[in-house]
């Protein structure tokens, strides 16, 4: 048993989740594969979205996977960092917009 919560080698075992629930696992991977195909968005654009979400979700496996995926697609490190900033901006915006609620509450409670 690993002594840490995250082992990078576990990423390549992801497919094994089907072993304990074949139908649901297969449905998930079919869906997952379909999502990342070329569509109204290019696979390249989807890769950058996935990278941004991987950061906001704090998923180390996803960050490893979509950093490598981006490199394979020729995506530059500048593009990757901008995508991470998009995620960060939404995260911070989502925090700060709560400030309006705080302001509303203060205004309501104060004389």
């Amino acid at each position: 048993m690993s002594k840490s919560y995250y082992d990078p080698a576990d990423l390549r075992k992801f497919g094994k989740i089907t072993e304990w629930s074949e139908e649901l696992g297969n449905k998930f991977f079919d869906y997952y594969g379909k999502v990342f195909e070329e569509g109204a968005l290019t696979a390249r654009e989807k890769s950058l979205i996935a990278l941004a979400v991987a950061h906001t979700e704090h998923c180390p496996y996803c960050i490893d996977a979509y950093t490598k995926d981006g490199l394979q697609r020729g995506i530059t490190k500048e593009e990757m960092m901008e995508a991470v900033h998009v995620g960060a901006a939404i995260k911070s915006g989502a925090t700060l917009v709560m400030g309006v609620q705080m302001m509303n509450k203060v205004n309501k409670l104060e004389m």
Partner: protein, 349 residues
Amino acid sequence: MKKSLQARNNDLANTKRQIEILSNGIFKDELPKFANKIKETNQFPLRPNKLEILQLNLGYMCNQVCAHCHVDAGPDRKEIMTLETMNQCLEVIKKTGAHTLDLTGGAPEMNPNFRWFVEEASKVGVKDFIVRSNLTIIRANKKYYDLPEFFKKHNVHIVSSMPHWTRGKTDKQRGDGVFDKSIKALQMLNDVGYGMKDSSLTLDLVYNPSGAFLPGDQQALENDFKKALKEEFNIDFNNLFAITNLPISRFLDYLIASDNYEDYMFALVEAYNPLAVKNVMCTNTISVSWDGFLYDCDFNQMLNLKVNSTIKHISEYNEELLQNRDIRINQHCYGCTAGAGSSCQGVVA
């Protein structure tokens, strides 16, 4: 400038050591054997199809020392094909059934008899005559400035390496200043007609990933390269070949030193595509080394795995006997069967 593994007396300059690492692994999880993988689809032993490509390595000398080079080429490598071996190759070119002649190195242009050999070989009339040029050689010295005109005169098909359309990524893999010189060389090739619309002069680019990852979709990369090189430098080219870096020589050294070897090997195995096996380049190619020995492919040449045949040297060349052989395989072969497959002509599946 960096030195070759050989000049640095690096352990991996010894091909036996490389094969030992590839065969036995140096990590805890066991990597499936390539031979067993191809047995699953009844493709073992791997056998040649019709010979299509004769690839000649004119020498390991090069003006660059690329970080990923599977040849371990560089200015300090002195192995150069002699005139005698070139003459033996010419005799074979005259009688081979192969439709493609592919000259590689090192920088093949650095062989002192390169131009003579191209002139003689072009007289034979092979259908596709490739020179793998690293581009910067065209700008390395005044004596090479006329190479684009020389290539044009002999209707040579140029295949050149370009790992990315950005300076940083290119220079990191191929050396400082390589990007700017390569751009200038590509413009010179365009100027004489190479890669231009409606021109018969073909200019293809080779993309090798600049790190421990596999190449993405070849067509998507080609589209991105074409757009970026056209918009920024007004450069045109014909096709982009996406080639996987094989875990040998300097790339193997890099993988081990950067602690990426295990992940890279598993990535190759995960991407294994049985459909790519039947078209891997060793099935349609004979690779000839600077000293005239025969190999199934350029990678086996660099691992000193000579053909499994009674015919081992260009001086005793017999195509019929050579075709009746089992191709020598090892764990590095996963590099040519990953994803859409990989060969000197790009994807194969």
